[in-house]
Every structure is written in structure tokens, then in C-alpha cells.
Symmetry: C2
DNA sequence: AACGTTCGGTTAATCGATTAAACACCAGAG
DNA sequence: CTCTGGTGTTTAATCGATTAACCGAACGTT
């Protein structure tokens, strides 16, 4: 049998569709007598009526649907938490999210935007899986919110992680443990990777705040995977004893994995001989390392929530200055005091 | 200015909306003169017309939209690839996917199903993030496809990984390297985790096929994280030398990480002293271990594609017997010959 | 000249809701 | 006995497309 329509409820209850609509939408409860309301509700229940949102959307011009465009969902472990945040807020307010993964392809992105606009989504979220500055794509509605990226012209509301502050927090954690010779194992030089520079700034400012002069030798780079972290750490460990770092802050958790491996090869224990702090709090990795890794979490869930709240108009957000979402430090067991009592 | 409607195109081109519709949908190209067609297209282009899919959907009773219900997207690294597969197929055929994460909550699931049905999705995919047998939820349309799970009554098309074959492949890999004493570090006993038993069956059958008698001592269990794998492996390594395994097949990659740690603590090198094979080919983990881990990949992307193809009717699939998607072995560097020349 | 056929469109119904405006009915006021 | 005002409900327009049915003109045939 076909799905019940409002007209079916109407005839079952012996009223007009207008009455059914008013009763079920709860709007004009005052105008309709309680008896009629009860009759309508009972009839709707009985024949299993469920409104057709397509028809409703056509009439009301709102679909209670939010479009979420993202690059490469597949290959990042971060997408999930961002999606989860957005999805939770959407659900809490009766919205549905239409997801499109553009695989970082400009043509697909164009199509996706067109398709979502055609579907009349009420708002749009433009997400990137790693913090970037992007040229605002054409065709995005005014109601678009940027997530984990910011439009180059800052023309729309956006939220990104507060990487600078995260870099400071990580470094401070090591300083607090007594370290003075702290290395920063950075990502390769790449303007796209804004996180790299910001975390470095945070690192430098933490050192400065503690009265430690930054040693340029301790700022090294490697590819952003375990092998890069390992190579960079190995280089660091060949430094003469008095210049060698007692602690390492890595650009991300995978590089920290590599740092662990390098330490192991060099016969060093983490954290007894070398303290390590990562970044990202990567699912199923950071906590599983031996010892579990102290790291800085990327606030993907929170950013996802925020973006959806703005998209839904639950929260005012002016374009111009992106919201910097705090990156909390996650303390585990990879940080300890330096091997020798600090210079103090 | 409001979005252009078909009527706007019609008046701009001096024709009726029927003509516009026919021209733009490409359907009745034969009936309309080439000149008129050109005029209509030009007008549509000029005023930037894009069809309103809500209106179209109401009329055609199809939304070109697929609902995808899943549990806990957030906390698993697998979701991405499954989504990517589904999304790719959808995009290739001009469909959009509406995603709902139920967070494994029955009430949310109910709401999600109702919402998607109300949105008139053309079909639905019911996904789980780890292989399970589930009671088919009420309210799912007939067109629902099950992804990485199967309805208890096998009443709908479904696809799950071929875990048994994967277990065989992993074990065979070790046998081929010359191992005879091969342990299986299993997940805790739990009927929900069907993968556990199936991989075990595969393991046993590979051993039997090679004429090796399975030693019950070599079937141990641990929690499905690194610490569980580590504890189980440590237990294995305390076995007397002649009963000790020379190779370990782990239920998943995280447990394999733990096996690495245990080996290291025991002064053993992987793979020189101990070979290890994992399962899952977990993103950003398996390949990053030192040495990179040989493992069995879960075909999430392929399952996602398959499910969407079935949902879109591009592929016939009868309910009854779930499609077993092959789990390819990913060879890296954690498998070598046993430390002593094989018994041969 | 009368009568099909094509050709090239147009008319109008329809999908299933929402909602402004109209209406029927009754009570109380003037 | 008419008028005014509520009250409770219905009528009908509307959202923006699709599509079956129809229609007028031109052309060919006998």
C-alpha cells in the first residue's frame, strides 16, 4: 500500500487537510477544538501517517537539511569526529546532513555545491580535513560556514584549531617537567600547512616566556609520518651531549611514533631518557603507544558542533575573524623530568 | 534576487514551461525544434537557472538521495573508507547521500529511520562499523542494503568481509614463510564479534591444510587494544622454548602493536625472532609501525561501493546469503622465516 | 476539396503539504 | 430583529517542477 497522505488522515477523521495540518504541526492548537484534535491525532496514528517532507519543503521553502562538503573523508581519521559534532547538533534540532566528499577535486567540488544548492539545503558547511586557508569556492551560499579552514578573504564565519596556543601548551608541559633543551620536530616547509608555522610560534613563545633561548639546531623537519619523525629524531640524537635535546615536541602523533622508534634504537627509554609530546591525539594511536603518548588534541568534535550551530543560526558568528577553538593537552606517560637534574 | 524558476526561463525564451522542461531534461529532444532548444538553453544559461530538486522530487516521487544510517562513525577509523565507497558510487550516478550517525542508540536509530523515510530517500543503507549480525530494525524500507553487518534473518541484501578467508590468508602467509608454531591472539570471547570466530576458523583450516596440528595453547585471548595484545603475547613468550610460537597472527592491528611491544621487552626482533601478522590494515597505523606490519585489509571501500550499487539498483543482489567481500593480505615487513631453520 | 499525418509546441492536472482568507454558526449587544 | 464578534473549520492558492493529453498549422494523398 502506498504511504498515507494528509488527505487520508483528513477523510479518516472527517475533517479537511487544513485542519489536519494545523493539528499535527501543533501551530494553531488554539483554533481547533480539543475533540477534533484528538480525533485527528487518533486517525493519523491509526493509519500510520508520516508527513512527506518533500512536499512540505516545497511549500515552506526550507528542507531542514544541511549540506556538508568535505575533501578526502576517506583518508583521514579526523573526519569522523568533525562529522560527529556536526551531526549531533543537526540531530538535536531535527536537521539532516547531506554529505559530499569531493576527494579534493575542484570539478567535483563545483558539482557538489551545485547539487546541494539544487537540493535546497538550508545552509552549508565547507569542511577541510586539515587546517588550511582556502580560496572561497564560487557558488557557496551566504549561509556557508567554514570548518577547519578559513576563506582567504575571511568573508564567512569559520572555525579552526588554536594551533598557536596548542604549541605553547605542549612546550609548557615539557618546560614544567624541567626541560630546557626542547626540540620541535616540524613538518616540511609548506605554506599550505598553516598548522606548522602556528605551532612553531607557540613553541617559541612558550620558550621565551620561560626565559629559555631557542636553539635553531633544535628546530628540525621531517615528513609527517613515522619515518620522517624517526629520521629527524635520529639526527637530533647525534648532536653532542650538551646540545642534545632532552625532550621533543612533534608536529603530529605519527612523527612521535617515529621519535619513539629512534629513541629505542638509540637505547633510550621514553620518558626516562627522552620526553615526547605529540599533536592530534590521533584515534587508536596516541593512547596505544608504549608508553601512551602525551599529546595535544585537535578539537574536531567541538569545531563540528560549532560549525553546525552557526549554520543552524543557533549561534551568531560574524565573518572576519575565525573562531580559534582551544586544543587541550592530553596528559599520558611520555613526559617525565630530564635525565640529569635540570640546569637550575 | 530569488532563484530563477523554470517559468522565468520559459518567458525569457518565449515558450512554455513544458517546453523548457522537455529541453532541459533532454527527454523529448525529438519533439522540439533545434532552434527552440538552443533558445531555451541560452535563456537558461543566461539567467542562471538551476532546477529545484525539491519540486522535481515531489513530482517524480524520487529524490535521487540515499539514506545511510550508521552507528558510531566518530570512534572508528573504518567509517571513512566505507563512506567513501558509498559516496563515490552515489556521485558517479548523480545521487546524494544523507548521513545519520545513531551513535548506537536504538531510539536515535528509530528517529533516523523515520526521518529518512520522511525525506523520501530512494533507498537506504544500514551500516555498522564492525561486522555484526543484527536484528533487522523496524521501519526500514524494502530497498535497504546492509553494510558490514547482516540481518539476523538474512531478509535483505548484505555484504560483510570474508573473515574466514582472511584468517586463512594470514595464516598461510606465515606457513609459507616456514612457520609451524603459529599462535592466534584472539579477541575476548563474545558472540557479537563474529569476526573473532570466523578468523579463527580460517586459521584452523589453514593449519589443517598444511598438515600442522593446531596447539590449543597457541590460541590465546586479550582485549582488542595494544595492551591486550601485549599481555597475550607476553604469556605466549613464557612458554617453554619448544612450545613457544615463532609467529603470531593477531586479531587486529592494535593487538599487533602490543605484540611488537611484548617482543621488544623480551629482547626479540620482529621479524627476525618473531613474525607478526595483523588484521584491519588500519589507516596510519599498520604502515607506520617499525617494522611496517603485514596485515589483512578489511575491504571497507569495496563494501561501501557494493552496498551503494545495490541500493541504486545497478547490481542485482538477492537477500539470503550476504556477499563475502575478499580481504586481501597486505605484505609488509613483519613476516620472515622462523629463527631456527624450519623443522623440514 | 476533403482528409489524414506529422510536426512543434501548449494546456492543465498533478505531486502533498502549508496557510491566508473566507465562511458558517452561534451568542450576546444594541 | 439585525449587527458584531468569536470560534472552529474549510476553501483554495501556492510552492516549482513533470507529463499526459490536446491543438493548430502545414503538408501529402487520393
Amino acid at each position: 500500500m502506498a504511504r498515507a497522505r494528509m488527505a487520508d488522515v483528513a477523510s479518516a477523521a472527517g475533517v479537511s487537510t487544513a485542519t489536519v495540518s494545523m493539528v499535527l504541526s501543533g501551530a494553531a492548537s488554539t483554533r481547533i477544538s480539543p475533540e477534533t484534535q484528538a480525533r485527528v491525532r487518533e486517525a493519523a496514528e491509526r493509519i500510520g501517517y508520516a508527513p512527506n517532507s518533500v512536499a512540505r519543503s516545497l511549500r515552506t521553502q526550507r528542507t531542514r537539511t544541511i549540506g556538508l562538503i568535505s575533501d578526502t573523508i576517506a583518508t583521514t581519521p579526523f573526519a569522523g569526529r568533525m562529522l560527529a559534532g556536526a551531526n549531533d547538533v543537526a540531530r538535536e534540532h531535527g536537521y539532516l546532513v547531506v554529505l559530499v566528499d569531493t576527494d579534493d577535486d575542484a570539478e567535483r567540488e563545483r558539482q557538489a555545491i551545485a547539487a546541494l544548492v539544487g537540493q535546497q539545503v538550508d545552509a552549508m558547511i565547507y569542511a577541510r580535513m586539515w587546517h588550511r586557508v582556502v580560496p572561497a569556492p564560487a557558488g557557496l551560499p551566504d549561509s556557508t560556514v567554514f570548518l577547519d579552514c578559513r576563506p582567504r578573504d575571511d568573508s564567512r564565519p569559520a572555525t579552526v584549531p588554536d594551533e598557536r596556543d596548542g604549541g605553547t601548551a605542549a612546550t609548557l608541559e615539557l618546560i614544567a617537567a624541567g626541560h630546557r633543551r626542547i626540540a620541535y620536530v616540524d613538518a616540511p616547509e609548506d605554506n599550505e600547512v598553516v598548522a606548522s608555522g602556528l605551532r612553531h610560534e607557540g613553541y617559541l613563545s612558550a620558550l621565551a616566556g620561560a626565559g629559555v633561548t631557542a636553539d635553531p639546531l633544535l628546530h628540525v623537519r621531517g615528513t609527517t609520518d613515522a619515518s620522517g619523525g624517526r629520521a629527524a629524531t635520529e639526527a637530533l640524537l647525534t648532536l653532542p651531549a650538551d646540545r642534545r635535546p632532552t625532550a621533543i615536541f612533534c608536529f603530529n602523533d605519527r612523527m612521535a611514533m617515529g621519535a619513539y622508534a629512534a629513541a629505542r634504537r638509540a637505547g633510550l627509554e621514553v620518558p626516562a631518557d627522552l620526553s615526547v609530546v605529540g599533536y592530534d591525539d590521533q584515534q587508536l594511536v596516541a593512547a596505544e603507544l608504549d608508553p601512551p603518548l602525551t599529546t595535544v588534541a585537535l578539537p574536531h568534535y567541538e569545531m563540528g558542533r560549532w560549525a553546525m550551530e552557526v549554520a543552524l543560526g543557533l549561534r551568531r558568528a560574524e565573518a572576519g575573524v575565525p573562531l580559534l577553538m582551544p586544543c587541550p593537552i592530553i596528559r599520558r606517560d611520555s613526559v617525565g623530568p630530564p635525565p640529569e637534574p635540570a640546569s637550575a
